[in-house]
Symmetry: C2
Subunit: 578 residues, 2 copies
Amino acid sequence: MDKILRIDMSAEGGPGISEQPLGEYAGLGGRALTSAIVSKEVPPTCHPLSAQNKLVIAPGLLSGTTGAMTGRISMGCKSPLTGGIKEANAGGQASQVLARLGYAAIVIEGKPQGDDLYKVLINKDGVKIVSDNGLKGLGNYKTVEKLREEHGDKIAVISIGPAGEMKLAAATVACTDPELRPTRHAARGGVGAVMGAKRVKVIVLDDTGLKMRSPKDPEAYKEANKRFVEGLRKHPVTGEGLPAYGTNVLTNVINEAGAYPTYNFKEGRFAGAAKISGETLAETEKARGGIPTHGCHRGCVIRCSGVYVDKDGHYLTKQPEYETVWAHGGNCGIDDLDAIAQMDFLDDDIGVDTIEMGATIGVAMEAGLAKFGDAQAAIELVKEVGKGTPLGRILGSGAAVTGKVFGIERVPVVKGQAMPAYDPRAVKGMGVTFATSTMGADHTAGYAVVTNILKIGGDVDPLSPQGQVELSRNLQIATAAIDSTGMCLFIAFAILDQPDTFQALIDMINAFYGLSMTADDVTALGKKVLEMERDFNRRAGFTAQQDRLPDFMKKEPISPHNVTFDIPDEELDKVFSW
Amino acid sequence: MDKILRIDMSAEGGPGISEQPLGEYAGLGGRALTSAIVSKEVPPTCHPLSAQNKLVIAPGLLSGTTGAMTGRISMGCKSPLTGGIKEANAGGQASQVLARLGYAAIVIEGKPQGDDLYKVLINKDGVKIVSDNGLKGLGNYKTVEKLREEHGDKIAVISIGPAGEMKLAAATVACTDPELRPTRHAARGGVGAVMGAKRVKVIVLDDTGLKMRSPKDPEAYKEANKRFVEGLRKHPVTGEGLPAYGTNVLTNVINEAGAYPTYNFKEGRFAGAAKISGETLAETEKARGGIPTHGCHRGCVIRCSGVYVDKDGHYLTKQPEYETVWAHGGNCGIDDLDAIAQMDFLDDDIGVDTIEMGATIGVAMEAGLAKFGDAQAAIELVKEVGKGTPLGRILGSGAAVTGKVFGIERVPVVKGQAMPAYDPRAVKGMGVTFATSTMGADHTAGYAVVTNILKIGGDVDPLSPQGQVELSRNLQIATAAIDSTGMCLFIAFAILDQPDTFQALIDMINAFYGLSMTADDVTALGKKVLEMERDFNRRAGFTAQQDRLPDFMKKEPISPHNVTFDIPDEELDKVFSW
């Protein structure tokens, strides 16, 4: 994993392929690598759909090894949604396979003339790029099915759906899970639109004949990994809550905390929460013959994923995540799990971000396009996106554009990106992260819920403005570092709570690369990543004024706590002062 | 004209009305006044459709007097299109009448609960605001017709069409001309959407029983006005070209210069230009019994307006302006004057900016929604806006949103506002104005065509990067000052060329107000206005990165001169260094 694959879609006579050593990017993986390349090579003021933008796909530092939880893959570019730098990461098999194929990153550059759609094939024999217009307009599920027929089932697939082809700003890049289903998405910020602008429909990865990546010190790596896994297994969140109920275990927790955005961020508690909670979801799956506990990639020991089936036991979609259940559920006043599952499937198939879509439908409902709680109407709206009708294109462009087109003032976005499932007025640490993250409103950028609500790594009152800036700062730094390892972010629950588990992670990196990093080095890496990203955004024209929540959240109190977002702007501006 | 009328649409129990002296705003008119109030009173980061935004409507310093050309009215707010400060001004009768009613400005604040639509009535007896839901959804023409039936034909009307009611970012505020037709629009930047957000459909002004405003020194005023009028009459542009052919006299001139943006800014010359030129337009009007020479307000001596009729001599629309003819014509590859006239009428009736609409249709054509040159398809697209279909709402949100929704990279906007009818690569002084104006791409903000092409006030080669920054700077300063007088900007042709005409204008102001202003004071006023506007934009989050043309204009040469926009960013950043 010491080389970069560059694909130049502008090259005359068809896409150009070249390989180069990591060079100045050596030692970086995942988000650190995507952000370094984007920050250095993409002109910050270029049009996100132009030839000058680049899509960088990078496994993490430990991806492709025997280490647990190392299956995240980062996708970076200038975002068509926010106009700033973007890294969105996904689970699934792609990260491990790409790492074993020896690539620290794929960089897709340029833009072809004409309308052809391309397929990239990478295996032990090399890289091939062929046009394949038979894939045009196919959903991610059909796309993968077609590739399975052609290439067998030992592959991992990275693909875009119709939304990516249409270059919609909510378009995702999908990665297949171990069962070759396109259910794991680099979802946020429109990375799929950038892949679509470059006319790349799929990247087919096949590591047949290749081995696990070897650590410098195999014994030490194995031992550290063992301690790491033990740490994850003994922690109540990663060892019990997430495996049993998936991420949707949060519905009851966040609803109880009064921080569950309901009816387009009008209220903080949803009467129908129990009907769509993780507990209900797992029960439903069990009763119908679905799978409540499942890993999205091989080597996962948390196994927060699952399979959701219909009443007859037929596959409907992967177990919908908490954010998805909220976005299409409480945020739209919908308490029907089957309807939510159907929208989850449609989102994955069309290739759009479930958070952005749910928030967008909430705004559309506020605009009167459908009634809050009308599940069938919501499903029809998602279908419009797939059809590419004018309405579908509006919705697929995200909540900010939808608000603008329909003249709606209450639009829950920061830097043009929709807010996830935590009302920033009632979980103020999350509000700081939403406001200041380089990524736009992004819960994974600094998940303050851990300390605000779950009381992991400390206890900061979610309703008070005190301590939130420091909390968000520390979490944003830690996250930027974790996102660079290829580790699933959910390890944070255990490593924040258990110093020996954190040390085990550092020991894994050291054993693998023959380094002697300390916790301070991890912090330094996180800061370096954030600084690169902030610098890009500054050069793209962002100022402190973009590090703000929407006005209505400062003026409109949310029930049940009747709180507004009251952290002063001057405090927000200190998040990156270290 | 020494008081401000404040209308608070948030007030409980119906809109509140109050009057106050000019106070700290004394001495300001037109754009100087709207920008001062917006800059001081509107939070720069507020949502443009929120209660916190204000719509300020201000006649100029000399409006309502016997002075020639004093009929412009300024509308200011935070722009829903650009997100920055906005002043858009219009001709018509409103400025004169409002000034005679004694108001230096109307400030519409707040936002009502509920769906009622309001009518504001102002006459010598005072101000009344009543809800009038019978006006809902009416086009500007039907709206005015209804008001004429109710209030007689001595009124001047300020109104919004369906686009304003829908809060679309390309929505205008219409003002009636002397024949009570809603043909003069404060068109740019979505000022109509702000009026719509405040639920004000019309403002009916009636100055019956009121007199012309009296100068401090009536004799000196009369004498200066006489010299001013003589100056306008003797200048070839204001005395001959504009009266004979209207603003559309420019089609042949700009096309000849190779700066006529054709097919969405793909080429610089349009093969069909002669069929839609001002000469052809005037001939057509004469032959059919229309009116080629007409004043948009009483007291106009340039009379660049006209009346366009169909083959049977029936009124079709006012004589379309150059920008409109270009936007719906060459920019869309359309060379059919009747079709352009029909779109002009539709734009006026629906209440959308003709420049924004034409540029938007150009982008839509590039997206494949219609073929370049297909006049009927273009007409249908404009009609969509009026119907408020999803497609219509996209288009009515302007070129930037349309480009985003349809994934188009070549979108001719700055700060989200569409470029007018001059390719900035071939008239580089115009490019500097488009890039740096506080208003977004706006030709009226610093009309470098005068010196680049018409060779008035000097001679700066339009194709060279040399001298353009200084040219644009000086014109932007002069324009900001002229926009504050209530004078039509077309006086600039004469006052830039003829020092005695410029002096006559200063003498008019001095005689009216008993001042002793010099040319330096005029320059100082212009700078002050620009500084207020820049300051607002800075506080709204704008940086130098927003003072840039779209990337494609720096990379893609335009025929026939095969030039790109090559003025370095560092030069652009010096425009406001004085």
